[in-house]
């Protein structure tokens, strides 16, 4: 039964994802790409559960390795997106502002 709930969540998220992202203007497509990439690091949640779980050493080690890789994705992704977006920001303030 849980799987069915998850299916509903999946369906809704996919629709919502399409609605949200198709609104992003071309200007922001590169930050969107790297920002979305950072979000894909969410798999770290699964990694943490495995790493800290009691399913044995192998599972913990796999989990810990997964934590490391996912963390690269998360930290790197958000920071680089932020770097990029700050540039866009700078431009706005160098203007009269209020430009969106």
């Amino acid at each position: 039964m849980e799987a069915v709930f998850l299916a509903m969540v999946l369906m809704l998220s996919i629709f919502l994802g399409f609605e949200l992202i198709s609104k992003v203007p071309a200007t922001l497509h590169t930050p969107l790409m790297s920002g979305a990439n950072a979000i894909s690091g969410i798999t770290i949640v699964g990694a943490l559960i495995s790493a800290g779980g009691e399913a044995g050493a192998m599972s913990s080690y796999l989990g810990a390795a997964a934590v490391m890789f996912a963390m690269i994705n998360v930290a790197g992704g958000y920071l680089v997106t932020n770097r990029m977006l700050s540039m866009f920001k700078k431009k706005d303030t160098s203007q009269t502002g209020g430009k969106s």
């Binding site: 590169t30 790409m33 798999t43 699964g46 890789f69 930290a75």
Partner: protein, 453 residues
Amino acid sequence: MSTVMINLWYVVAAALFIFGLKQLGSPATAVRGNMLSSLAMVIAIAVTLLNKEILTFELILVAAIIGAVIGAITAQKVEMTSMPEMVALFNGSGGIASLMVGWAALYNMGNTTFTDVTILLSIVIGGMTFSGSILAWGKLSEVMTSAAVVFGAQRIVNAGILVGLIACSVLFCMDPSVDSPYLYAVIALSLLFGVMAVLPIGGADMPVVISLLNSYSGLAACAAGFAINNNILIVAGSMVGAAGIILTNIMCKAMNRSLGHVLFSGFGAVKQATKVEGEVKPIVAEDAFLILEAAQSVTFVPGYGMAVAQAQHVVRELGELLEKNGAEVTYAIHPVAGRMPGHMNVLLAEANVPYDQLVEMEDINPRIDNVDVAVVIGANDVVNPSARNDENSPIYGMPIINVDQARTVFVLKRSMGSGFSGVDNPLFFGDNTRMLFGDAKQSIAAVVAEFKG
């Protein structure tokens, strides 16, 4: 924290991810959007750690710190021009993480067949994403040849791998166990498949591939979410999946090619364009300066070459000088100029070019015949008139910026070489075209020097 509480926090995190993506939709709020999204990630990680089932923290802490440091350093050091490679690498990390999460989930007790299937999906998609991304990174950073690697029996070999992968998956699901030899076969085959899928794709098509792989890494996270019954993985993963597919689609459309064409056929192999001949009229910086000085309206059309030459700053300088000189200056951005969607926007933003001077292809084309000088800076395919005129051209039908209809066109590049698509460009032989050969940054700098001195 109880499972219910943790899951309620996941709902909060999911809402923040959604808000974040929503705010990423406008330059004014995008920074905040990214912050919200990272806050969501922090919340998701934090409440997961508070799960009382988590026994050992040391290992986790070490792993997390190592990962964060690597990620942070790479993010700080990367050049804006190398964004595609960077995203590819990060994407690969995400992929291998999903693979491992799936693998580790096999050690849980009492998995149902459904769970096993989703575990397998997360392993397969994660593995493909990983090896494909690494190969894409290799091609883009020119660690290896960026050419499409095509060999005779490729399709047969790939079909074989795919069949093997499916067979091993089925066999594994029939008798799932962490020691099953089929598990190792599945992992190996999915890694191999990722490599084989990316091999026949040329380096210049990599951005499409990366965007697609990005989508896959989201799907892998989704699959992992089903495997461990976790909401937040599904919500966040499917957002990423949607983003990747939309961007892939945009790129394919702007290149006037189908996704299938990108994935399965080495580019340009299909048709032979009509041979282009004519007289090339080179120009030197001094003469270019004289013409620009007299121009009333100037449009810069940047392309991949501007990124390579890192010419964006000096371009902005020239733009400002021209404006002071009384000319109207715009920057015409083609949707697939460069190597990523929005690539030029990021570079010009980096160089502090004012926002309202950027115009899109649809807006500049109707008024391009009123432009005195169109300065093409390291762009090639996106201004190739054969996309409009030559039905035999492989890029026929791709929408372009019609710089050939401007009064004068300067083309700044290093040689008569072709661009990404490998197609000859009749623009270079146009009556109103002047070629300013050399590295874009140096050429522009020379013109700027004329202005100043």
